[in-house]
């Protein structure tokens, strides 16, 4: 339960006591908050005293009389603005003229209360102020968390980009100093590995650009009526050469064209990521089954492989940014760790989701659901992350 501290500043003792009494047992229940908000009322009889109290310990809400013996309420308001105090001010004014109210809100007051007011009027104003204050603080908290997430994202990104660069530099230094003896085959392998790492880095940068465009909502999207089957056929042809090298067959099952309203590029990204993973993490001689169905308003894409699979624990973290399952079986497979995170974010944009079921050494089945006619708003993605 939260307690908000109110400082009431008025030269009339009766007014101060009245406010304190009215708010003594007052509780506010807010829709976004678990539990209730209570109020603790403190008093000051002049603007000077109010500023002293604020300096000592800043209240949450200031109930400030406009007409005070020394400095006026508006002067107090100015000083609070100068000192950038985190306090919400409600002006109390005897002559409820529009002029005073405008002048006060211009100088940073949140609301005003006209004298004389009933306890009910006071409570209504305080309820509104408390709601505003709490929503504002939650928004600030969220912004902080977003910054934190962004910071973590960038530090992991720096790490993931430095790793291949370090590996390439290491090989170049070995080549430069001929540190590995006289066998040229050893150096050929180093060149090969350096090129593979450079390729991995390029892929990561491309994925990162995709992700940034999706999350910023700045990617230009062209929603058209398209056939998911057609996009899948193209995607399969893209990865067929890689699959054939390892004797992996790719099958497509779709009874109809599976139409939906979507941006072609985004559906391509989803299918390319799923099919390329199903080939990469497969065993030689294995198979990939792509199945497309549409029930009412939902398009379902499932991609099943006969590959290395993963444990339940690994599957649970698979859709996060930069998550790569590291073990002996995946050590020579390149990946940015961003592909599935992108797939899930896109699926969310289409009002759907992405999931996986898997068994180690048997294979995995990835399922992506998409709404056939969603608004597909770029700003409705579920992740609070915005790199």
């Amino acid at each position: 339960m939260d307690t908000l501290r109110i400082l009431v500043v008025d030269d009339e003792p009766g007014m101060r006591r009245g406010v304190a009494r009215a708010l003594q047992d007052f509780r506010v229940r807010l829709p976004d908050l678990n539990g209730e908000v209570l109020f603790a009322v403190d008093q000051a009889e002049s603007g000077e005293e109010a500023l002293e109290r604020i300096a000592a310990s800043c209240p949450d809400i200031l109930l400030l009389d406009h007409k005070l013996p020394g400095m006026s309420g508006l002067d107090v308001l100015d000083r609070i603005a100068e000192q950038q105090r985190d306090v919400l001010t409600v002006m109390i004014t005897a002559y409820a003229s529009l002029e005073t109210a405008v002048s006060a809100t211009k100088r940073g007051a949140y609301d005003f209360l006209a004298k004389p007011f009933t306890p009910e009027e006071l409570k209504t104003t305080i309820r509104k102020a408390a709601g505003h204050l709490i929503v504002q603080r939650q928004a600030r908290q969220l912004a902080r968390e977003k910054r934190q997430l962004r910071f973590e994202f960038i530090s992991v990104l720096a790490h993931e980009l430095k790793a291949p660069l370090g590996a390439i530099e290491g090989y170049l230094n070995l080549l430069k100093n001929r540190s590995a003896g006289d066998d040229p085959a050893v150096y050929d392998r180093m060149i090969e590995r350096a090129l593979i790492r450079a390729e991995g880095m390029r892929k990561m940068i491309m994925d990162l650009l995709d992700l940034t465009r999706i999350e910023s909502g700045k990617k230009k999207r062209e929603l058209t009526e398209l056939s998911v089957r057609e996009v899948a056929q193209n995607s399969i042809e893209t990865f067929r050469p890689d699959a054939m090298k390892r004797n992996i067959t790719i099958n497509l099952r779709a009874d109809d064209p599976v139409m939906m309203t979507a941006d072609r590029g985004e559906i391509e990204i989803i299918l390319n990521n799923l099919i390329s993973n199903a080939v990469k993490y497969n065993r030689d001689g294995g198979s990939v089954d792509v199945a497309l169905t549409r029930n009412d308003e939902t398009v379902t894409i499932t991609v099943t492989d006969t590959g290395i699979g993963m444990t339940r624990e690994e599957a649970a973290r698979l859709f996060g940014d930069f998550v790569r399952i590291k073990n002996a079986k995946t050590r020579n497979i390149l990946g940015s760790g961003l592909g599935l995170s992108i797939v899930r974010k896109l699926a969310n944009m289409y009002g759907g989701d992405a999931s996986v079921t898997s068994e180690p050494d048997k294979g995995s089945t990835f399922t992506v659901t998409l709404r056939a006619h969603s608004q597909a708003q770029a700003d409705s993605h579920a992740s609070p992350r915005d790199p």
């Binding site: 973590e152 790490h159 370090g166 290491g170 590995a180 590291k326 050590r331 020579n332």
Partner: protein
Amino acid sequence: MAKKILAVDDDPDYLAQLRIELEAAGYQVLAAESSAAAEEILRQQKPDLAICDLMMEHTDGGFTLCHHIKKLDPKIPVLLVTAVASETGMDFDAATSEERSWVKADAVLAKPVRFEQLRREIGRLLKD
């Protein structure tokens, strides 16, 4: 007899390079690609020194491994290699005894490690 160095890093390229450089410097290398592989080696052999990467399967896997090595034998010098410290703001070192009380390593090196620097650190820790 050549001194044995346990090298642990989940980047297979970096590990291969480490092996070449260390062997060229006259050390015998026990290479491990994961904390688990390193623990397996430690059950059978005792290295004269260990070089561990900080970020492996788990972001701080290197810390745990360093701790285990020191528990096994506090006299084995441990070098912790990391690429994360400066970016995450979690800068740490093993220069003072206070730091060494929780960072169970004798020295911390930033990645990418220059191999001359690495050889110097190894020489200092092995006192040879």
